[in-house]
């Protein structure tokens, strides 16, 4: 906890208030609750079958709902949940608790060829969100 500097002016910008659709209870704010969906990344659909030996693809979960802080190329699920949690602490009545924090991360292994025809087996220990708070 850091005390704000007394002379420091309030910043011009303010934390945005989300249009809460990521709430656990649909009754709260009348929003759509978060729903867990499965996303399948197919290596053959990506046209990568010539260099990815295994697996054919992998599945992960993602949240579906109108989250104010959506997952983007620069934000993973954990960051998303952290931000929402911070905003919730600041404005508990306006922003619900983060409900889509990953609670369990599973490993994935990918077997692929490199440019020199060497074969690489890469294991990512905590990569795929298998369970989240939804």
């Amino acid at each position: 906890a850091v005390k704000p500097h007394p002379r420091k002016k309030k910043p011009k910008y303010d934390l945005p208030v989300p249009n809460s659709r990521c709430d656990r209870s649909p009754a709260n704010n009348g929003g759509q609750p978060c729903k867990k969906h499965e996303l399948y990344v197919s290596f053959s659909d990506l046209g990568w079958k010539d260099w990815v030996l295994a697996p054919t693809g992998y599945s992960a979960y993602y949240c579906d709902g109108e989250c104010f802080y959506p997952l983007g190329s620069c934000m993973n699920a954990t960051n998303h949940a952290l931000i929402q949690q911070v905003v919730h602490l600041l404005k508990p009545n306006e922003v619900p608790k983060a409900c889509c924090a990953p609670t369990k991360l599973s490993p994935i292994s990918v077997l692929f060829y490199d440019d020199n025809n060497n074969v690489i087996l890469k294991k990512h220990r905590n990569m795929v969100v298998k369970t989240c708070g939804c």
Binding site: L53, A54, D64, P107, V110, N116, N118
Partner: protein, 273 residues
């Protein structure tokens, strides 16, 4: 209906740019700067991909059985194989692809990356030249994963059955790292591993070459390859080909290769993207 519309609005076709961004993101997760372009032809798969597929399936099975480490270093199964391993491989009932037994154990379960390297150069002093006979192999280890350290490395070579040999005769196969080459002189060699195997056995032999790969990792220019010698119990030098060790000219599924196990040297930290 409105809510339904909102939900389904997220299920749309990605634009070309978004597709590229997503592909870039997945490649980045895999630790790749771009899409690899392996040189064709890749079919039929050679020994290294087959071995790696076996390893992948073993690791995947372990992943399903969460919390358990792959520990198969049971009796008669050394860390890196050996004569007992050779015997087990040749008698094991293996799936279609498996002509190999991956070196399961803590080394595998703790590895973050496993890489197989294709043998690039093969030289030998064979039966037409004076003794002692030897065979040299070289592997290009330069495309090593960054931020990872070698935990183990194996040189794998297949031994077939050959005619005209006493099955119960013991062969001593030793592998050396070539440390320095000088003109008109024998190079400086450092013993890496040695195994004694019966002449009448067939299967994969795995030699521990961890110290050499660590050396090559620190000093890539010092990578002069490895040299293999075969001797009888009477110290008689034999040609590798004569005892049935398969080289580059052998069947693709039995060609020698090197496999290296890496572990992330520090807590993985994803760079901001």
């Amino acid at each position: 209906q409105q809510a339904e519309g909102l939900v389904h609005s997220s299920f749309r076709r990605l634009s070309g740019r978004e597709k590229k961004e997503m592909q870039k993101e997945i490649l980045s997760i895999l630790g790749l700067p771009g899409r690899p372009r392996p040189h064709p032809p890749l079919r039929p798969p050679s020994s290294a991909p087959l071995f790696m597929l076996d390893l992948y399936h073993a690791m995947s099975a372990d992943g399903e059985d969460e919390g358990n480490e792959i520990i198969v270093n049971g009796p008669g199964m050394g860390k890196f194989g050996g004569a007992e391993r050779l015997a087990q491989v040749s008698h094991a009932v293996l799936p279609t692809l498996s002509t190999h037994t991956p070196p399961l154990g803590t080394v595998v379960s703790e590895a973050d990356t496993v890489m197989s390297f294709v043998n690039l150069v093969e030289q030998e002093r064979d039966l037409l030249q004076p003794r002692p006979y030897w065979k040299e192999f070289r592997f290009d280890l330069t495309p090593l994963p960054q931020g990872e350290t070698v935990t183990a490395a194996e040189f794998r070579i297949y031994k077939t059955l050959t005619m005209g040999q006493r099955a119960n005769r013991t062969l001593h196969i030793s592998v050396y790292e070539i440390q320095r080459e000088t003109r008109h002189r024998e190079p400086e060699l450092v013993l890496l591993d040695m195994q004694s195997v019966p002449a009448g056995q067939e299967g994969w032999l795995a030699f521990d070459v961890t110290s050499a790969s660590n050396h090559w990792l620190l000093h890539p220019r010092s990578n002069l390859g490895i040299r293999l010698y075969v001797e009888t119990e009477e110290d008689r030098s034999l040609s590798a080909g004569w005892i049935g060790l398969v080289g580059r000219r052998g069947p693709r599924s039995k060609q020698p290769f090197m496999v290296t196990f890496f572990r992330e040297s520090q807590v993985p930290c994803r760079p901001p993207r």
